[in-house]
Amino acid sequence: MSIIKAENITKIYNHTVVPVHALNGVTLEIDRGEFTAIVGPSGCGKTTLLNILGGLDHPTSGSVELANTDITSLNDGQLIDFRLKNIGFVFQAYNLIPVLTTMENVEFIMLLQKRTKKDREARAMELLSQMGIAEKANQRPSQLSGGQQQRVAVARALASKPQFILADEPTANLDSKSTSSLLDIMADMNREEGATFVFSTHDQRVIEKARRVITLEDGRVVKDERK
């Protein structure tokens, strides 16, 4: 059953000056619980596609349906609310809040969702334990390694039990050991939590781990293979 439906998406930057076609009619469907990698060379439109799927950017044309909601018709406030309730983001540069501790960072999204303190703390500690960094709960991001920070970012993304996790080059700044460890954790979370993972990446290790690989070139889907 498709949980993500993108229909003929185009994205043109600077369309009044020198148009840059980032996406040229991308159509794809992703089922619940999939572990999908979007791959392709730099500039092929991976990040643009991920941003549009995540409601961070608007397509020039086409529609995106997430969990039966046409997000292209939502206004800014509705989109923020939708993202908060349904989407977890993992960014290349971790993007943790530097002034909050590991625990507080994981709790942050749940705080925005107005969940109780007890509930937040229990969920955050559960995730940090699963990520193997429970002992770092009271440390600030600057006191963690890159791999540890990205694990916190994944924990934060999963904290609110979103339907989708969108990860933009999550391993780009990690060494091979950290990458391997992080991928194992995300695969476990995919199985245990049932969250749908979509990565943009050109990291071969992520591609190998993915169960579906969508290849983009010049803003078009040129290959879509399931393992």
Binding site: G54, I80, L84, F89, I97, Q113
Partner: protein, 406 residues
């Protein structure tokens, strides 16, 4: 969580926050000093003039204040004085005969203000007894005078010398008398100090051929802020066709105007100071916004509402401003308390130059609470106005663009 986030954000870039807080504190310090000095000087001028000379309220015959001659005096009326005395807030009714005369001693002559006073009541108003620098006071039955120090120096008289007073009495009578100096008084106000002679009331009435007449009823009231109420209540007790009651602002319009004009220039200087500091604060807010665009983009991406982010930024600016204002006030307060009780006196030629204009040659400092809380409010409001910039930026922020361009 908002408060925790805002508080911790302030200390992310300690050096920048220290500089911002320091500049706010310095602005508050300068502004408080300037305003305290200015208001302190005004308070002193008002005190010298109203508290220690005219009284905060006076009652005269109608027209006396416009034309201060003994002819505009009124008959002593114990009923009127009793009635005024019973007005709430009025502590004493001090009768006076005030007129002008030429004071001469040997080859020196100078115009002077002669105040016929009830020594005991007058002392309750002007506390002249505390200002005696030589000799003793006077009693109601004395036929001697107290002379101000500046006038005594000019005439070169000292205690025991006799001064000739010559002027015009009631209805054109000649007023001439010779009076021994019983004591010398030093007034704070140079204008008073250079021209005042105190004479017992009965003797002044005799000198000016104005037996049983008064020119002025000066009132001692409990609090200066009750002036308007007291004036209003007394005006209901007197016959407005024949008598007038005036508060100190009406008695001394020149002083009030002078203070108002000077006050405007002082406020202008303070606003210039705030403008300079405002640019500094704006620079900080600008940097603070620019260097966190990526983070703002991320926070909105993960589901933080713009208004939540705006509240945090607003709190950051409010907290920084409040800390700056607090530190500024805390640093300023001990200095102002010290200088309030130990005014800075000038000496030498600069003192003489200032005294020539009739002012005391000193800086006085006020401790009015409004000095502190008005600076605090101005800085906080300034921060809030400047803080609109990051709030507007946040309102317009596109998360993808912010993350891409940062």
């Amino acid at each position: 969580m908002y408060i925790i986030l805002a508080w911790r954000n302030i200390w992310r870039n300690k050096r920048r926050s220290y500089i911002t807080i320091g500049s706010i504190a310095f602005a508050v310090l300068l502004a408080c000093f300037m305003r305290s000095m200015q208001l302190g000087s005004y308070e002193r001028m008002i005190e010298n003039a109203a508290r220690f000379y005219t009284g905060y309220v006076q009652v005269h015959q109608k027209g006396y204040w416009d034309e201060k001659t003994i002819d505009n005096s009124f008959s002593f009326d114990s009923g009127l004085i009793d009635s005024i005395s019973r007005t709430p807030g009025v502590q004493e009714v001090v009768p006076r005969v005030e007129s002008f005369a030429l004071a001469s001693f040997e080859q020196k002559t100078k115009g002077c203000l002669v105040l016929g006073i009830d020594p005991e009541l007058e002392n309750r108003l002007t506390q002249y007894g505390e200002k005696l620098v030589e000799g003793a006071g006077i009693t109601p039955e004395d036929k001697s005078i107290l002379i101000s120090e500046g006038l005594a120096n000019y005439l070169k008289v000292s205690k025991g010398d006799s001064v000739v007073l010559m002027g015009q009495g009631y209805h054109g009578a000649t007023a001439v008398g010779i009076y021994p100096v019983n004591g010398i008084i030093k007034f704070r106000s140079p204008a008073q100090n250079n021209q005042t002679i105190y004479l017992p009331l009965r003797e002044a009435q005799w000198l000016y051929a104005a037996q049983n007449r008064l020119t002025t009823l000066a009132l001692v009231i409990d609090k200066a802020k009750h002036v308007d109420r007291v004036v209003s209540q007394i005006s209901e007790k007197i016959d407005p066709e024949t008598m007038e009651v005036m508060g100190w602002k009406m008695l001394m319009p020149d002083l009030v105007q002078g203070i108002e004009i000077d006050n405007i220039s002082g406020k202008l200087m303070t606003w210039i100071l705030y403008t300079v500091i405002g640019f500094g604060m704006f620079g900080t807010f600008l940097m603070m916004t620019a260097e966190r665009m990526y983070e703002f983009g991320v926070l909105i991406s993960v589901g933080m509402k713009r208004i939540q982010l705006q509240v945090i930024i607003f709190l950051e600016m409010a907290m920084m401003s409040a800390i700056g204002v607090g530190i500024g006030v805390l640093i300023t307060l001990p200095f102002l308390i010290y200088y309030h009780y130990h005014p800075i006196y000038f000496s030498g030629e600069s003192a003489e130059a200032i005294e020539k204009f009739g002012f005391e040659a000193a800086y006085f400092f006020s401790l009015q609470p409004s000095i502190f809380y008005s600076q605090a409010w101005v800085i906080l409001i300034l921060a809030m106005i400047l803080g609109l910039y990051p709030l507007i930026v946040l309102q317009r922020l596109k998360p993808v663009k912010a993350m891409r361009e940062a």
